[in-house]
Symmetry: C2
Subunit: 206 residues, 2 copies
Amino acid sequence: MKQTDSASVSRNYHHGDLYQSLLFTATEMIAEGGTESLSMRKLADRVGVSRTAPYHHFKDKNALLCAIAEQGFERVEKLLHEVRIKEESESLAMIFTQYVHTYIELAYKHREQYDLMFGREIWRNGTPTESLHNRSRQHFKSWLKWIEHLCDEKVLHVGDSTLRTAQVCWATLHGLCRLFNDGIYTEQSHLDEMVDTAVNMMLKNT
Amino acid sequence: MKQTDSASVSRNYHHGDLYQSLLFTATEMIAEGGTESLSMRKLADRVGVSRTAPYHHFKDKNALLCAIAEQGFERVEKLLHEVRIKEESESLAMIFTQYVHTYIELAYKHREQYDLMFGREIWRNGTPTESLHNRSRQHFKSWLKWIEHLCDEKVLHVGDSTLRTAQVCWATLHGLCRLFNDGIYTEQSHLDEMVDTAVNMMLKNT
DNA sequence: CAATCAATCTTGACAGTGTCAAAATATCGT
DNA sequence: ACGATATTTTGACACTGTCAAGATTGATTG
């Protein structure tokens, strides 16, 4: 409710809720023009504050990006929980298929945030926040648990181990996401067919 | 043979083979410290030339990156051709498995170049060179042809269409590559098992 | 050989970036 | 009212990509 839309807030010396405001606006900017278009200075400008003010709330540009990524994890974690709740109503294979569809749609809708969650920018440089590290680990655990369940119920084709299955299945999802997110596959109209093909590859063919 | 190792070459005003030299050194620098660590100025410095000299051989930093990416495509194209030649000696499934292993190994060995080939930096901004565009398209055609062959021979599980199969299979490879390249999966020792699991998912279970 | 021309490289400049140190300002507890 | 603390600002530095104008060279003519 107090979501600081940089006009209505009184321009005090003390902003009041700069942390949230920065996070919100930064996410906005990234969604608009990509991760590269976000500069600390432009962000500060847009929030109506001086260049270095953000540094008192985020140690780094990196810390800011990690915080944004973390919110992304919260989103997918929520999605996963929602799906696991309605497990009684439909067949498990159906639910899995649907999850994959929405996962990839969501990843595309928030492309830039997704890139932050799993991109080299944060992970390859070895700079993920403790907090981000934990949240991502925790999310993979949730995913693993679901896949184990699907393997037990003979829905998924299980190979060497359910862990490997979970890793590879997710790699497939991730690969599809990246190809679309990064603009390598551009025909959005083919996406549904591709997802179905992928899911068929994963499901135990009966 | 004339591969300019920035010491032995006489420091003339005219470098002699600056284009090649830039390409070579830039690739080197990227392999060392990642795409982000390559700056035009440092590159020029290392080659022993002034800041803006590279701009007479590459329109942009982007153009330079595209050229490097292109060399990466040449490499994988070569790999694919080598594999398709020895098709008689072993079972097709075996050859496919082996290809996937070497593909992913190669991608990891040249992580940064791989990132250039398929990363957002070039593709998402819509800035691939004509030349790069063609070469990548051509490579996917080669891949598609092989997959079609493997589908015909009942080696691969064919879904809606061989095109979709080719796309999804490659997405799976790509997903695995990225997870390791970007430092999300770090246990290198699990890679072989994961690749096997992935291949099993793609092969027609007999 | 000398003179012109095109190819190649350099210097200077500008706007933009992340971030540190020191100074300024506001808020709060006493 | 005052001093402590939290918050923000100004100034500065080194770095980035790239443009415009000038300097230097090698090749091509007469």
